[in-house]
């Protein structure tokens, strides 16, 4: 009788990483197509529609880019945390806090010129989001509280805080009592680039991506982070500052998600309202895991997952596929990539059962 012998590879194959990723993608698409077929929706048409809707025209690509911006920033933050094996599930809440922080500046100083207001909003979003990530870090380090649960609960708390603000103290006096703040003054809005639909937030993404890359490649702290992530016990033994790293990582994570919130509130909606919460924080977890830490891969993965969301709207419009289908695809992609990574990290051979 034969049995499988499974051995861990000394070094994971590099080229097969990409292969596995694409294989997983294809598999998830295939399963999704089957699910559509089961509900009597034409599977092939759906897949074509999905791609066309997401990437088939310049306008579509623009739409994807716009959507990719907040996903990218949240994912970058989450990926940094994941590298240190800190499971930051709280990107959603940190995103909200960033939006709240930026809104506070916008509402408080509407008449100042844009070169004062926008940096102010940027700074406030950074701090607010960062703090919302820092608190769970402190609780983890000094009270041993599991960060998965704490960051998750903080998501709920953040969203409820947002609700409280827009239904109460920050409610717009002219919007007939609907829960939203006043519209931001023009100096508080991040503008569009030329005649496109894109906004200057893209610059923020590029800046963050480059900054993080430099941080990991060239600074000592970045090196320590990478090393600690691989083997925490050994790193502590070697004297690396684990506590500082955890706090830094969660603060940065939250700050980046906070910037995403700032951009959404300022540029895309021009005010703060509950519908700013669309699940970017959770998509970021998927992206961060798929793309590991390379900012370029995170960029690509964010773009692809943004494309998924955009393409899905076409499926809804033309084929009446329910909105929940998006969650199925995201979950499937993640699971198949996880399972597929097995073949990258381990070698399987046939052997004889003794």
């Amino acid at each position: 009788m034969f049995k499988f012998i499974i051995k861990k590879r000394q070094a994971p194959l590099v080229w097969s990483s990409c292969l596995v990723f694409f294989g997983a993608l294809v598999l998830s698409l295939a399963v999704s197509a089957i699910m559509l077929a089961l509900q009597n929706k034409p599977p092939l048409t759906a897949m074509v529609l999905l791609f066309n809707g997401a990437f088939g025209s310049l306008l579509a690509i623009q739409d994807c880019l716009i959507k990719a911006v907040p996903i990218f920033l949240c994912s970058l933050g989450v990926a940094i945390a994941f590298r240190l094996q800190i499971w930051n599930i709280g990107a959603e809440g940190q995103y909200v806090l960033g939006a709240i922080g930026a809104t506070w500046v916008a509402l408080r100083f509407p008449d100042l010129p844009w070169f004062v207001v926008l940096p102010g909003m940027l700074a406030m979003a950074f701090i607010a989001g960062g703090l919302w990530g820092l608190i769970p870090a402190v609780l983890k380090l000094y009270m041993r509280a599991n960060e998965i649960i704490v960051t998750l609960m903080f998501n709920y708390l953040a969203i409820l805080f947002l609700d409280y603000l827009v239904y109460g103290p920050w409610k717009d006096p002219v919007s007939f009592g609907f829960p939203m703040t006043r519209e931001f003054s023009t100096s508080a809005i991040v503008g569009k680039i030329g005649h496109t639909q894109l906004n200057w937030g893209i610059i923020l993404c590029i800046f963050s991506g480059v900054a993080i890359w430099i941080f990991f490649k060239y600074t000592r702290l970045g090196y320590e982070l990478k090393a600690s992530g691989e083997n925490i016990k050994a790193a502590r033994y070697a004297g690396l500052p684990y506590h500082r790293l955890v706090m830094l990582v969660l603060f940065l994570s939250g700050a980046l998600a906070g910037w995403a919130g700032f951009l959404e509130a300022s540029s895309t909606i021009n005010r703060l309202q509950p519908s700013i919460v669309v699940g970017y924080g959770y998509t970021a977890i998927v992206v961060a895991w798929l793309a590991r830490l390379n900012p370029i891969s995170i960029g690509i993965a964010s773009f692809l997952l943004a494309g998924l969301r955009v393409g899905l709207e076409h499926l809804q419009l033309d084929l009446q596929v329910p909105a929940a289908f998006g969650g199925i695809m995201e979950g499937l992609i993640l699971l198949t990539v996880l399972a597929g990574s097995f073949f990258v990290d381990y070698r399987i051979s046939l052997g004889k059962k003794s």
């Binding site: 239904y167 007939f176 009592g177 709207e313 009446q320 329910p322």
Partner: protein
Amino acid sequence: MRRAMFFWVFICVFAWGVASAADTPMKVGFVYVSPIGDAGWSYAHDQGRLDIEAMDGVTTSFVEAVPEGPDSERVMLNMARKNYNLIFATSYGYMDPMLKVAKQFPDIVFMHCSGFKTAKNMGNYFGRMYQARYLSGMVAGAMTKSKILGYVAAFPIPEVIRGINAFALGAQSMNPDVKVRVVWTKTWYDPATEKEAAKSLLDVGADVIAQHQDSPAPQEAAQEKGVYSVGYNSDMSKFAPKSHLCAPIWNWSPFYKEMMEKVQQGTWKSKSYWYGLEHGIVDITPMGSMVPEAVQKRVLAKKDEIASGKAKVFVGPIKDQSGKLRIAKDTPANDRELLGMTWFVEGVVGTTQ
């Protein structure tokens, strides 16, 4: 001879003109803020959509669960680029995005629900659900023994608050000492929480449960305790046959049909449509057999009065919770006051936050 020929040519051209206008295939798009299943709001609009889909020469489509903001703008842009003729957006937050899209596509007609901005090719519409709520309040007020009515409500937005106020006024017209207690669930779809909210109202002594939620969970709670309930959006009596008194419901079909026909015939003009009982956009379901004949007659009589315009729901003197006079004696509230209602009338217990 020539005159006859001209006459016939004229008839043919005219007939052809009418025929082609009638045959213009129409593509109508709908944008919903929640899934059509669980939010009775979107479900009701979708029922209207299905009715116009059944008409000749019309194809409709929809996108559900579209967050307000840039996503909705993109969805509407997609519809516009795919040459839809008429687009309906059914949530307040779609207003600004719709305006932006309307400016880019002047040949398409845009209709926004529950808002106030208009353009040459964009109008807005709403329904006077509060009229139906008033009637349901009358029934509740007549049937309560404890004089406490419970209201399970989702979010403190003006239309919900307006509905609660109308309900309270209706109840007070039958029973002046009635109090309405409000619990906010902060969710449109969580039957477990809605049921728990209903139970908490039952615990403080309410013996009629009304709701501005989309699941029948509060009805279940009332039935289990053996008290009465008022449904919403559809006849919920099948969930609570012994307790369901009546339900205020939406009926968007006549409105959507009217809009579609106007666009088809080219007679559509941008304005604000706020239809009510008189157009059949809102209504109450037939009342359950437990409601006495006399009460039913009175309610139906009031319905006719409101529908014919003889009576209005929000006519002063109306005071708010703190006792301040909000609507002067014998003055009907104007639409703007109604659209922005963020205060409770006297007799309602609860916060508006």
